[in-house]
Amino acid sequence: MTHEQVEQVKNNPKYQELVSKRSRFAWTLSIIMLVIYYLFIMLIAFEPEFLGMKTGDGVMTIGIPIGIAIIVIAFALTGIYVRRANGEFDRLSQQIKDELR
């Protein structure tokens, strides 16, 4: 990429829009994942009794649905990201590329 091209892309408002929207989205989702995971780890380290609480009259504890839910949430978050990135963000990238030609 030449120096002029770098300047052109950098000053393209669509590029700035893409970068700011995507980094906000990607970091937000990352932080959601990290917070969920480390809350879980902290519960294990400091409050293991909480995860061992019974949900009803049987043996089922709250830890098991929480654990399974974290797995499902991780997958759901990837779905949310891919949906927006492969649509909105890729359209913006394509427009930036087209304007460069």
Binding site: A26, Y37, M42, P48, I68, I71
Partner: protein
């Protein structure tokens, strides 16, 4: 080439025939269905290797299957790469032993994937060509960065290979009654064939087939277990609590991850380690563009998450159907130690369960799948290790004038050498305690590979000096702390007390790496540092938009 493949097929069949004869001597029941299914897998995958070998013409074909794998296929292959026999047998064994604690590991192994998607995968695809070092060295000096990345890669690959090789030897010994060395040599020989002749294309399909087999086998087992309890998880758990010696404790976190430092450190190792494994990162270059790279992670996360839920059910199924079943108990061991030890140790819980739910035929299927799993994982590892040697060290450090043909030749030689090294180490480590090996591989990936790769993409002020010193310090800290920690210092070297009290060093070694990279970068006032910082802008535009990124081959 055709003849060589046929010879290999005959050779492997011959090995099994020999094993069958010795099987009686070893007093192991000969499992005919396991051997037939395994031979079908080997025959099929060698056929794919033959097909792939005819399509590999360029270095790009060899390293990345020409970049034409779809997101769905790659997601399946990533899952195939990641769901090792260690996670299948190890995690179900852990659930069998400790219940809920197994789930903690599964979650740790999974949550790295969304982070890889959000922050790493598309930038990696937009910047790189064959290896993650392409990205780390994009605007920095080639020689030091490539050397460091190659070291990190080769160390990770070899440690991981040792674990897989020892696992395969023990598994085969137990399942097929073959001598340990035969199994290790067989795995090494097959992996050399897949990778040297079939490159990434054959490796990818071996992984896809293995992922399908493993997921279907595990699904069948989980359904069989649940159907036994009228598809009521509560009934399954209630029965497990009733028969397990720990009782209700298996439904809550136990002593496995006790203190907060260990818990956080393990979390960091699993999360950042996944994002620094060379054989996983390499898979992102096999797809056409960033769009397909993202889809790969979406499918991979789905398959891996589903698989971990299955292993949880399988572990509980084993508690109910294997524990206390005299058929699976190691009576000799029970006479000495008491309790209810199962034949082959806790890692065989899933294997015994397959017999309990599906008889000899299904036991054979699961045994063959477990072995196929090892083959697929070692192939991916070897390809990543060979690429680090041929692409990073040879073509970008030692012989920058190298032609593509020379580079390919070196990659094939490197594959054969790595295969032989893996066989030798596999045999050497037979009687060793290898519990620390995979942990160390993850620690190195998290402390050397990941910080350099991550900061090269995200931090403008990163310089060659910072990356080289910081990455090396991270690597050294990880190795030293593992050696001084409880597993090596106390359990293996026999010292009374560990110098470093924690099993997982990642919290400390990753911090050392990041701080050192930061410090030695910001204090770097050289002219090259200035140029490297200026080059960030162009790199960032390419990583954000894909302008100038590698495309897929036309054929």
């Amino acid at each position: 080439m055709n003849r060589i493949l046929w010879m290999a097929l005959l050779l492997s069949a011959g090995l099994f025939a020999a094993g069958a004869l010795e099987g009686e001597v070893e007093k192991q029941p000969l499992n005919v269905s396991a051997i037939i299914m395994f031979l079908l897998f080997v025959g099929g995958t060698l056929g794919i290797t033959y097909w792939a070998a005819k399509r590999i013409k360029t270095a790009k074909d060899f390293y990345t299957a020409g970049g034409g794998i779809t997101g769905f296929q790659n997601g399946m292959a990533i899952a195939g790469d990641y769901m090792s026999a260690a996670s299948f047998l190890g995690i179900s064994g852990l659930v069998y032993l400790a219940g809920f604690d197994g789930l903690i590991y599964s979650i740790g192994f999974l949550v790295g994937w969304p982070i890889i998607l959000f922050l790493v995968s598309e930038r990696l695809r937009n910047l790189g060509k064959y290896t993650f070092a392409d990205v780390a060295a994009y605007r920095l000096k080639q020689t030091p960065i490539r050397t460091l990345a190659a070291f990190g890669s080769i160390a990770t690959v070899i440690l991981y290979l040792i674990a897989q090789m020892v696992g395969s030897g023990k598994l085969i010994q137990l399942l097929f009654g073959l001598p340990y060395e035969y199994a290790v040599v067989l795995v090494g020989a097959l992996m050399i064939l897949y990778v040297t002749f079939g490159g990434m294309l054959a490796t990818t399909w071996v992984q896809i087939i293995k992922a399908i087999l493993l997921l279907s086998g595990a699904t069948f087992m989980a359904i069989a277990v649940l159907s036994h309890f009228g598809f009521s998880p509560e009934a399954l758990f209630a029965k497990a609590v009733e028969v397990h010696e720990k009782g209700e404790a298996i439904m809550a976190p136990g002593g496995l991850v006790s203190d907060p430092i260990s818990a956080i450190s393990l979390g960091i190792a699993l999360m950042f380690g996944t994002a620094g494994l060379p054989h996983i990162l390499m898979r992102f270059f096999t797809v056409a563009d960033a769009k397909e790279a993202r889809k790969s992670v979406f499918f991979a996360t789905g398959f891996i998450g589903y698989f971990y839920i299955l292993t949880f059910i399988i572990g509980f199924g084993a508690i109910v159907m294997v524990l206390n079943n005299p058929q699976y108990l190691d009576l000799a061991k029970q006479a000495i130690e008491g309790g209810s030890p199962i034949i082959g140790g806790k890692n065989m819980a899933a294997i015994h369960l397959s017999h309990a739910v599906g008889g000899n035929f299904f036991l054979g299927f699961i045994s063959a799948v477990a072995f196929a799993t090892i083959l697929a994982v070692v192939s991916g590892l070897t390809l990543a290790g060979a690429s680090a040697i041929s692409h990073d060290l040879y073509a970008n450090v030692f012989n920058k004038e190298a032609t593509e043909a020379q580079e390919m030749r070196i990659s094939k030689i490197a594959t054969i050498v790595l295969g032989i090294v893996a066989i030798i180490l596999g045999i050497a480590f037979e009687k060793q305690n290898i519990a620390f090996v995979v942990g160390l591989a993850f620690a190195i990936a998290a402390s050397a590979n990941f910080p350099v790769l991550f900061l090269s993409m995200f931090w403008k002020k990163l310089t060659t000096r910072g990356a080289t010193i910081g990455g090396s310090l991270g690597l050294a800290t990880a190795v030293v702390l593992v050696v001084l920690g409880p597993i090596v210092w106390v359990d293996i070297l026999g010292n009374a007390e560990a110098v470093f009290p924690y099993k997982y060093p990642a919290l400390f070694s990753v911090t050392v790496a990041f701080v050192a990279i930061w410090f030695f970068s910001v204090t770097d006032k050289s002219q090259t540092a200035k140029e490297e910082i200026e080059a960030f802008e162009a790199q960032d535009i390419r990583s954000q938009t894909g302008i100038g990124a590698e495309g897929a081959s036309a054929h």
